[in-house]
Symmetry: C2
Subunit: 294 residues, 2 copies
């Protein structure tokens, strides 16, 4: 089995970037000290995210799905702001005894997902390390300044989630579809006051959104849209749903919600509660994922 | 001793971003799904780079110097293109038992270096992992399109390096100064055809520059500017010099080189050889650093 130690850094990079597709925005891609791409008058949007062996995937995870997940997670963050990703840098850390084929397959997963969302991979970095780690840094734009933060919601706003929650570990965490068209549609057609993607579980992420707005929340737990076979506790506490959590204005109309159903008939949009003033917030049960915690 | 496991992810991030300084270009910094910054009509420049415990630093390295190095390495890549860095994202991977103080100090090193070069830290990501790893992703601009690639040199161009080479492991690899003002001065005042920074050693990096230009090279080994106490072999093979390697036009004048001495009297600029057609290139001795190689 050919390993990274056999071929070394230069040959690895040569194989990884061979045949990379770039659109007209790329002035200089891999092979220089930095990548150079066309500038933009619109605001730039930046995000980095990382997947670590033993945390976000295992030694048994098919390598293409590792790469797919690494890219999809960051694209999901762009969706959460109704922004458009454009250019990616990939940092790859791996033990020298890693099979070259494994890394090539990880990269194939990265590329497939990048191409599906119009993202150019324009550079990166490799280093040896004790475990396989892929970090994706993504830049893009927010057209028409219509991007959505997680901090502008008001007390009384309704809380909604897309799709179904819980049990992602059974496979969705590797195969989820970033809610990019849905998020752009929402930014255009619904009075969205705040939005974020659910990566650490509703139990962690909803308090973060509420805190960013200086608010509390109340949740109707019986309304949580559960993945088939999942309990309410799992829908509340499990991480890696990569669904959207939104705060919609109190003035959202039935007609607006009907338009959603027409546009995305296969994806539920469920009201799960509302944002309230801090002093009116009930105590929520714990759950969700925090890095570093035992 | 307080560890990351004691305080968890949210509290760690809160402590890391407290008091971060941002200039007017930052629209939304840490705390949202992505960072948002002002766009630019100029080309965007992108680079990511990573430092790994046991590879780029040791358990004994003072944490501030780890952070300093992580940021300085990427800034050095921007210098190598005569580009201007503006916004950074930081990915921090660490074992849960890591002392909080160590991470705070790493971040202090990152911040000090960022502030010195006008870089805004606008976001990042944390994850647990088996060893301490810091990845810096940097975006910026190339004013007036006067950026310099490593691929546009011609046969007959003179090869020059700044400073002295070799022995960086004795301390310079942690305390080097990115050659930012020097690179911008050169881009403006010298006929620079190609430039790169020396991170893996002249023995690795010079062949890369030559290959990017489709050329070979010949080096006058007796001319290599050596760090005090270093041999020619070390000046040729040691990594992490973070000096600039340049290809200057054959038409470079004595007056132009005299202007360099006047502008930067304390930094040597040494002619070490020239680029030649591939078929005229002598065989160069091996050396330098390749990741993954035993």
């Amino acid at each position: 089995m050919e390993t990274l130690a056999d071929i070394g850094e230069d040959e690895l990079i040569r194989r990884l970037v061979r045949g990379l597709k770039h659109d007209a925005s790329v002035i200089a891609g891999p092979g220089d000290d930095c990548a150079v791409v066309k500038g933009s008058r619109e605001p730039l949007v930046l995000k980095t995210d990382t997947v670590v062996e033993g945390v976000h995937f295992t030694a048994e995870t098919p390598p293409r799905l590792i790469g797919r997940k690494a890219m999809a997670r960051v694209i999901s963050d762009f969706a959460a702001m109704a922004a458009t990703p454009r250019h990616a840098l990939i940092t790859l850390i791996a033990p020298p005894q890693t099979a070259v084929k494994r890394v090539i397959d990880v990269y194939a997963g990265l590329r497939t997902m990048a191409e599906a969302f119009g993202v150019n991979i324009v550079g990166g970095e490799t280093s040896k390390g004790n475990q396989l780690i892929i970090t994706v840094s993504l830049t893009g734009t927010a057209p028409n300044q219509r991007w959505i933060s997680r901090s502008q919601a008001k007390a009384g706003d309704g809380l909604y989630v897309t799709g179904r929650l819980g049990g992602s570990i059974k496979g969705k965490h590797l195969r989820f579809q970033p809610r990019m068209p849905e998020a752009h549609w929402m930014a255009k057609n619904l009075p969205v006051h705040a939005m974020m993607d659910l990566s650490d579980g509703l139990a962690q992420d909803l308090p973060r959104l509420a805190a960013a707005c200086g608010l509390g929340f109340q949740v109707d737990f019986s309304a949580l849209p559960r993945t088939a076979g999942c309990t309410t506790e799992q829908a509340w506490g499990d991480g890696e749903d990569y669904e959207l959590l939104l705060a919609l204005s109190q003035k959202t109309t039935v007609k607006q919600l009907a338009a959603w159903k027409l546009a995305f008939p296969k994806l539920k949009l469920t009201r799960i509660g509302e944002l309230v003033k801090k002093e009116n917030a009930p105590i929520a049960p714990a759950g969700g994922w925090q890095h570093f915690r035992p």
